[in-house]
Subunit: 358 residues, 4 copies
């Protein structure tokens, strides 16, 4: 039940603050004899790494991961895998203003109210840097579910959505937005530039699909696959909404439109073919064999140059702007994090299913 | 990590199937010396109880709760509280068709794929009857958080939404829809009648607000209050989407629109006043002192009289209709369940906060 | 982390007080498609049932178990199994003295100090009746590990130990003491009669061996099989000591005496033969394939007719005697409970091992 | 439920192998605003550190701890505290023999049977070096329970016990054995020298007492304080037995001898005075306000120069001796580990009690 852990059998714990010496994750419960080296993890960290285009924060973090335990002669041993990423570019700056006043949209006030103390440097524990640890853990989880392919992409920035007709998975890695629609990517360049120049920021919607998930992962009633996915996604910084499959759209469907019809398998197997996937691959908390599909809403970055009214520790009204290096759209770098949380949740449920059902 | 439990300190476990002899919940970790009797629980079960209007299933279940342990001389003792509700109206019928074919939109196929066995009578464990146990547990949770007021209402049925201008909390209990807008309630009568007569069903959106939650409940990073709420809500049968505060709407806001500005407290306290509540009362996973606001999407009931294509156990294509007594809009009776899950999540986090922060 | 649950994957929660209407257990995580009916559970409850000889309490409890959920057409479905046992013989008596004064050796004072309230009727939740729920749950666990044979016996009463030379497993069920040594059983008749007539009580040591446990169950470092067994056994009422294998005896051995030597398997398998079993079948927290052996110390029943000095609620010195129907040696009926906890711990670790190692 | 975590609210996870680059612990759930620096932890590591006398292993490890997160300006922030200790003296040696044959008394065979892979260098994860991480975590736990004083000592080596009449707490730090009896300490010098010269090893019994624990910590039925302490202690490498209070001795007492009588408090408080402490400060799983007393049996070090029969990977009979630098009596350095586990268990239960009972 620890505050900083996630998962049931494949369980990981993260630690670290934005401006501490390092951050990391301990992945416990990983099956033995899987091939694992830093090279299996680094590419995923590189995707999330800041400073790769003008559209993300200019903080320069190499985000080099080190494996400190749990691997022997290139194989996992079944013991906890400790992953560490050093913080390199904690630029020294004056945090006086942030220390004294609560930034609206940030966790500053809530942390002070809860703990009576706050590491205000770069957001401390509530910094999006923590998600690097999840991405590293997620890379390990992927090894546990080689049968599954996971892809996340940005589906919408600032209200401007991709056109499904243009969807091309290959495009995702060809632009700085993880955008599968080249036309949208082009529009977003201008949108992002404009927001950044205005000292503002933009929200985003991420979509993620996992194919290859067999039917049967998940469990009723409180260890539902969708319930765990919702927790996983809502636990990502800046996320305010989660949908499975057709999501809120189901509320506007009739029963006969919503229920995904089945037909005998065209491949002759005893697995039925589904004719639609409003369920997002999950029924009754258990996977159906269809792609598991999630949509996640990211709020706009709260660290902006536009002044926002707030209160300082002396209890006086003031305005605050958050200088420094920030992502104008934190949702973009959320895509690799969503993928990681999808991988971690699925891998955990694979093992959990194996525990109960052999 | 059990499959049928929820909560960390105040933890409850439910059991029971739709057509078994009974269902129930064990609530563990409840503080001692709270006044508790069946009369504290029954009103909430009565709200959820079927058969109270023509718009819900005609199954007649008294849903009388019995407290079997954990209470002595009218007070909780700190030991587990066992709650039991007998199933009375398990009308005998022919389940042959359901036993032989998977109902689209239901958990039938997923259960068979996972367990290789399925209690097909009334949906077994995946029946919405299980939520009676949650509602009973939720009534206990409310006693743990007397400082909090929780209200859920139906905000939308079949795509027809309430008008915020008409919002009146008092109206909720005056119509069969938990609808705070009398005009919408009137429209929904016709909408529901039409769907029922068509052998179809409708989706719904439930909103729930908890006021009186002090700042400081919740925790980074994986025991976030919003993360746990998302799990709680997505774990309710038929739910496919969860939003906190402005939810998906945040993805279309600019940073300065989204961040809830603060001003010195008008009551002279050291708690700031917030000028908006896009955050839904939660920042960085921790409550801010504003109302905690959740929106939940329910799919239309999958048990409908309209035939849907499916597959039978012999692997042949067939159509299925689900006869019997079903809610034409399962979301309506979801409102008391959403309230219960809100109460359970908040009560758990109150205790959790007290554990760490005294 | 609930207070009244045990286990990780196969997890059970018990509820109920000595003089409430009923007590029970919810077993969660049980694999599907196991044959299960009340007849699989009742024999184990019958072994633990009071009133079967003059050497146990004369309370008459049929201890009839009912399965309320989780079983369909005689098979487990993978959903929670709710087991209930009604309390029948809660003889009405005057609890005034127990309500007013703390009985030494009992949990009375500790409960009052913790909860500020106490169900004093028959010990409430701290009554040994709670163990009936564990025995019922244990019977389910046995079905999960058909490859394992579990036997517990009383090895010592009041300091009088069995003679290993007389050990005969068949004898266990032939006397009222679960005693494998007929000569000791005969001596214990007199010992027990004498203690009972003196209004006193006796302690006991229970031994339990599980054979058929394959090598590989358990886990370093805090989910060790021996660590979990120690928790399981020390959690039984009246237990004050737990040993694995040679137990405290190892502290008096030299390294070369303690280490269990290995030799190539006589059956030609690649599992070694061990030449001794000081380790009690567990090394590094993981089973070795040898019998898992535990020894458990039970204190003498604290409910005795001999007056013991104590304090009443007015803060005055007084003496107390505990009238009523009590076991003169609570350890005897501990044997089926020790077996149950062994079964539950092993079954859980079997599933846990399967989760991680396939 | 992770395999390498311990605790419920104050929960820690350890990682690391004997011959990896480092080992560490993540402590989660620590209350905020406690003063914490490396200087609060290092003294406890120094007590456990090898190479301080000729009676412990000659491996030279500075065991310098680094705090990587969770502390800001000298205070805990309520976020996870990451502690890391680098391995410095992993002397390169030929592990061929250990890699090829299972050392009796070690976890070698069990690890291979479970995982199919084993980091054989210095015992890998099953090395006693892992306990350094627990000792570091335990130092943090002590800050959570300033009202409690914890002392562990060696009560017996190789069957030679201390004389209670000579017991002097001050002596513990004056000899290399954590021995409170100077006469015994002197005898043990010779005993240890003799065992070491014979290439053999000795077992030990550690006792630990915690005073200042208020009445009310702990919980029935499966989160009992004694149950959790038993798990904590039995989880330490080489431990095979755990006793609470009079332990196995209770099995030889009569009811009236065992029950600790109470008298009105001599200090006028409403807490009774107990006239004995056979219960070891715990009744019904809950602390009574008396000292919490535990006894723990450590087996003799299995790494000895005396040859022991075993089997190699080719399935052939062979003998093995374990060269290298080993503690002739691993129990001695167990004393700081027992203290750490006592601190961790009590601190967790303090927070747990606060959660439920305010």
């Amino acid at each position: 039940m620890s505050f900083n852990s996630f998962g049931r059998v494949l369980r990981f714990t993260t630690w670290g603050e934005s401006h501490g010496p390092a951050l990391g994750a301990v992945v416990d419960g990983c099956p033995p004899r899987l091939s694992l080296s830093e090279a299996d993890i680094q590419p995923f960290l590189d995707k999330r790494r800041p400073g790769q285009s003008r559209h993300t924060t200019q903080r320069q973090e190499p985000d080099q991961v080190r494996i400190l335990s749990g691997v022997f002669e290139g194989k996992t041993t079944g013991t906890p895998i400790s992953l560490m990423i050093e913080n390199v570019d904690q630029r020294s700056k004056d945090y006086g203003e942030i220390a004294q006043a609560w930034r609206p949209g940030h966790a500053d006030y809530a942390y002070d109210a809860k703990y009576g103390i706050r590491d205000y440097r770069g957001g401390g524990r509530s910094s999006a840097r923590e998600t690097a640890a999840r991405v590293a853990a997620g890379a390990v989880a992927r090894l546990v579910i080689p049968e599954v392919q996971i892809h996340a992409w940005v589906a919408e920035i600032g209200g401007d959505a991709i056109d499904p007709a243009n969807f091309d998975l290959e495009e995702i890695d060809r632009n700085p937005f993880f955008c599968p629609d080249p036309a949208a990517a082009q529009r977003w360049e201008a949108l992002m530039d404009s927001a950044r120049k205005a000292g503002s920021s933009l929200g985003a919607v991420i979509e993620c699909a996992a194919s290859g998930v067999p039917a049967g992962w998940g469990a009723p009633v409180y260890a539902k696959l969708d319930s765990d996915l919702a927790a996983a996604m809502m636990g990502i910084n800046a996320v305010k909404g989660v949908e499975i499959g057709a999501g809120f759209g189901v509320a506007r469907l009739r029963g006969e439109e919503n229920a995904d019809p089945m037909r005998p398998a065209s491949d002759g197997s005893n697995r039925p073919d589904f004719l639609s996937n409003n369920a997002g691959g999950i029924a009754g908390g258990i996977s159906t064999g269809q792609p598991v599909v999630v949509r996640v809403a990211f709020k706009p970055t709260s660290s902006i140059l536009t002044p926002v009214p707030t209160v300082n520790k002396a209890g006086e009204a003031t305005d605050i702007v958050t200088r420094g290096r920030h992502d104008p759209c934190v949702g973009i770098r959320g895509a690799p994090v969503v993928e990681a949380m999808m991988a971690l949740t699925l891998a955990d449920h694979k093992l959990l299913h194996r525990a109960q059902c052999g």
